[in-house]
């Protein structure tokens, strides 16, 4: 049974790596952010599987923390850092740093 859990965990890690393609490719910021969101869920799933397979109940608490805090980054993204045409986002000195 343990080896089954570990195999599934490996497969989930592979799906995470596949999802990286969307982060690298984009094209928009929200695509990248959503992929990161999916990684969070995948990490929760891997943690739960490993907790069962390795007999380490403390990992479930790690999963709990991930599940609970997942919204913080999305909230920060939507409110503060969505690149694009926010009115208060002044594009001051846009190309100054390219010498």
């Amino acid at each position: 049974m343990d080896s089954f859990f570990i195999t599934v965990a490996c497969l989930l890690l592979l799906t995470l790596m596949a999802g990286l393609w969307r982060v690298l490719r984009g094209p928009t910021a929200v695509d990248r952010m959503m992929a990161a969101q999916l990684f969070g869920t995948t990490a929760v799933a891997i943690l739960l599987l490993l907790a069962e397979a390795l007999g380490q109940p403390a990992m479930r608490n790690v999963a709990l923390v991930f599940a609970l805090l997942a919204v913080v980054t999305v909230m920060a993204f939507v409110h503060r850092a969505w690149p694009g045409d926010e009115p208060r986002h002044q594009q001051r000195g846009r190309h100054d740093d390219v010498e």
């Binding site: 403390a58 923390v65 609970l68 805090l69 919204v71 920060a76 503060r80 208060r88 390219v98």
Partner: protein, 317 residues
């Protein structure tokens, strides 16, 4: 499906994890667009938490999870939005001179050699800690090291947190009166209500982690980080923590952890003990007291560091 297969599966998992970590680190640094780099860095934190779990370090995994998911991402994304220009494409780089490569190769050789030459089995201080656990007042070794055996380090670390906040405040402008929320965006009240509902749950989990730290992975730092995440979410939902707590309540909350630590450390000296040498009978209670105060202060300090604004002197009018 035997033990051998489990071993092989775990080894494959380790290889995949290590490979993903290195790729994420590299892509995050070399990303053409800074936002992409930050998202990859957030993913890096997630995978790193899995690595801690594989290394039997659930305490570290908890801290990484709380900080990585609750703080780092929000901090970096907020900073990116405040920069004069968030464009760095292609990444401005200095031409890498031969000297740099010589340095890197030498460092790789030295570090690699140092690690390979260490014995495969080493007890480190594990036995020493295990033999002293009876005198620590708690049952979880990491908590015993943090709050008892190496209490000095933790005390100084609380001071470092305070110093970081003082330095950040000395740089930051005073809190503006305008709301930080993006005016162009109307968030449905349902979503806001949902997120506000999560805040008390986070505080509850922080308390749970604090309590469980006495005998299992958890403790003040993990609990404090979760508390900080609750604060960050509150700030992002438009609550103005620094406005409500401005003045002495905020400052008292910030120094509470360090003050309680120093007070307990000094108070035990009245009984003839050394600094930070808790009497055995009450060690557990004293540690919980210090940890509770430290959790509160760590949470508040990190949340204030995220807010990045110096609060006004008096309470909000």
């Amino acid at each position: 499906m035997g033990a051998a297969m489990t071993e092989a599966g775990l080894f494959l998992l380790d290889l995949l994890l290590v490979l993903t970590l290195l790729c994420l680190a590299w892509w995050s640094l070399a990303a053409t667009d800074l936002f992409k780099g930050i998202v990859l860095f957030i993913a890096f934190g997630l995978v790193l938490a899995l690595a801690w779990v594989r290394l039997d370090a659930p305490d570290v995994a908890l801290a990484e999870a709380a900080i990585g998911a609750g703080l780092t991402g929000a901090l970096l994304l907020t900073t990116l939005s405040k920069l004069a220009s968030s464009i760095d494409n292609p990444p401005a780089k200095r031409s890498s001179p031969v000297l740099l490569w010589v340095l890197l190769v030498m460092l790789a050789a030295v570090l690699g050699y140092a690690i390979m030459s260490l014995p495969q089995q080493a007890q480190g201080l594990a036995d020493t800690v295990a033999s002293q656990m009876g005198n620590s007042g708690v049952e979880h070794p990491v908590t015993a090291v943090l709050l008892n055996f190496r209490g000095y380090d933790t005390l100084l670390e609380m001071a470092v947190l305070l110093l970081a906040l003082i330095a950040a405040w000395s740089l930051a402008p005073r809190a503006a009166t305008s709301c930080e929320m993006d005016e162009a965006l109307t968030v449905s009240p349902i979503v806001l209500a949902l997120f506000r509902m999560l805040i008390p749950l986070m505080i509850l989990v922080a308390a749970y982690l604090l309590w469980v730290g006495a005998h299992a992975p958890g403790g003040a730092f993990q609990a404090g980080s979760v508390l900080a995440a609750a604060g960050v979410l509150a700030l992002l939902c438009g609550k103005r923590l620094e406005g409500r707590l401005a003045g002495w309540p905020l400052r008292l909350g910030l120094v509470l952890g360090t003050a309680m630590f120093v007070a307990v450390a000094a108070a035990v000296m009245v009984g003839g003990a050394h600094l930070l040498q808790y009497p055995l009978a009450s060690a557990g209670k004293l540690i919980l007291l210090i940890e509770a105060a430290a959790t509160f202060s760590i949470g508040l300090t990190l949340a204030m560091l995220f807010s990045g604004q110096r609060p006004s002197r008096g309470p909000a009018s």
